[in-house]
Amino acid sequence: MAIIDDVRTIIAKSLNIPIERLTPETRLDELGAESLDVIEIVFGLEEKFDITIPLKADEASRVATAGKTEGQDMPFSTVGDVAEIVQKLVAAKAPQ
């Protein structure tokens, strides 16, 4: 299964919404994600892919309120952004 589908599954479950609502362009803030939802999603992704996503609580809160993080290296606005971050982190650990 493509990473994007796992990401959609985890987000859908955390926010209790049908997975069909989630496309790569869907914005997390528009889904009503609160900061703890974002943290729960990050936790779900870390568990699923055995990766570490360095997102702090204030950035999670910014995702929920402003729809994006402050730094450019960790865009977390859309479902597609999240999948891309996961993809990179999974690729980075592959050689080991």
Binding site: E34, S35, I39, K56, A57, D58
Partner: protein
């Protein structure tokens, strides 16, 4: 209504467990934060905390008794004994029957719980230690204080996370003020530095791996601490009559709930508690000289608390001296409000404002006078101490010069 004064202060803290050590540590901004040594750290990402390192249970409890007390209860009992000694309070039969014992703690015997679960789940033990429940129950600390000192009046625990200590002191204040008891032992305790607890805090993504830098632009999060502070709160007439030491007068208590986010501070809720405390103390914003802030060192708290101070104090916020003790003490959760109440009472007593430690540079979102790194001698007539808990529970007290 009776006037209520603080006649005894007892602390167990990362910067020492005498009143003198505690105060000098705060004034010198001597941070108690350091590498964790009391538990294994291999599995921790955040390996720093403000630990109580000079605490030897064998010095305070006989071998038979010590097995009954989790670390959080040990701290509370030792702090309560120190407070009674400090107040030169004689616990007569009459006082014993009336005195209230109110202790705030956010959790309970987490060391006991962690050890028990490690054995059961990690090592497949078939049974738990028989004293697990009496050690870990949330009311163990206040029960042990009451048993140790023989106090038989109203006795209970208040659990409101990071506001527990302040709620406990406020509740005891109201009881003494109303004449329900002439004396109360009140404060807070916490000993949460366990692998399980720190992993849980790590997962919330609010822990710093650097240090705690309240209100500084460079702040990276909170650092867990531990400890206890207990106080003798007493009817002022009685305290004066017996020639007791008086550190400060407790004049107001305000509470509120945000009814909003489970973790994020709500500036409106925090400001409502501040205003309620001012109203209760019958003082105006311009009467307050010093605020000991909640100041956890997280991006969100310090910004939100600054907004709350602007809302509650209006133009007077510019003039206020505000400092957080958490750069020195870390965040000891249910004990934090009590340790910070000690800092605030001692600030009034010594007419000195303890600084905000580890402060590096100004943050445009935090635009008040945070007394960075260096203590300040200044006349303080009235001071405020604030606690804002997860769950949106806010507690604020106002103290006056004795």
């Amino acid at each position: 209504m009776n006037r209520v004064v603080v006649t005894g202060i007892g602390v167990v803290s990362p910067i020492g467990s005498t009143r003198e050590q505690f105060w000098s540590g705060l004034v010198e901004a001597r941070s108690g934060i350091g590498p964790i040594t009391i538990i294994p750290t291999e599995r921790l990402n955040s390996k720093i905390a403000a630990q109580v390192l000079d605490f030897d249970p064998a010095q305070h409890f006989d071998p038979k008794r010590v097995g009954l007390l989790d670390r959080f209860a040990q701290f509370a009992v030792v702090a309560a004994r120190a407070a009674v000694r400090d107040a030169q309070l004689e616990i007569t039969e009459e006082i014993a029957l009336q005195a209230a014992t109110i202790v705030g703690n956010g959790a309970g015997g987490m060391n006991t719980l962690d050890e028990s679960y490690l054995k059961l789940y990690g090592q497949n033990a078939t049974r738990a230690h028989p004293l697990s429940i009496p050690r870990l129950m949330a009311n163990a600390a206040c029960s042990q204080v009451s048993m140790d000192l023989g106090l038989k009046g109203p006795t209970f625990t208040i659990a409101s996370a990071c506001a527990s200590g302040t709620h406990a002191i406020g509740q005891a204040f109201q009881m003494v003020r109303l004449g329900q008891t002439p004396v109360a032992l009140a404060g807070g305790t916490e000993a949460c530095i366990t692998v399980g607890t720190i992993k849980a805090w790590e997962a919330l993504r609010v822990l710093s791996t650097d240090t705690c830098r309240p209100f500084s632009r460079t702040r990276t999060g909170l650092v867990l601490g531990e400890g206890a502070a207990m106080f003798v709160l007493e009817d002022r007439e009685r305290a004066v009559a017996r020639g007791a030491p008086i550190y400060a007068e407790l004049t107001g208590f305000g509470m509120s709930a945000d009814a909003g986010d489970i973790t994020a501070i709500d500036p409106d809720g925090a400001a409502r508690a501040m205003r309620a405390a001012l109203l209760d103390a019958k003082v105006n914003p311009d009467d307050i000289d010093y605020v000991n802030a909640h100041g956890t060192g997280t991006a969100l708290n310090d910004k939100g608390e600054t907004i709350a101070l602007h809302k509650a104090f209006g133009a007077d916020a510019e003039r206020l001296a505000v400092s957080s003790s958490k750069g020195v003490l870390g965040h000891s959760l249910g004990a934090a409000g009590a340790l910070e109440f000690a800092a605030t009472a001692l600030a009034l007593h010594h007419q000195t404002i303890p600084p905000t430690a580890n402060y590096q540079e100004a943050d445009p979102d935090c635009d008040l006078d945070y007394v960075p790194n260096t203590a300040r001698n200044a006349p303080i007539e009235n001071a405020m101490s604030s606690s804002f808990a997860f769950g949106g529970l806010n507690a604020v007290v106002v103290l006056g010069r004795a």
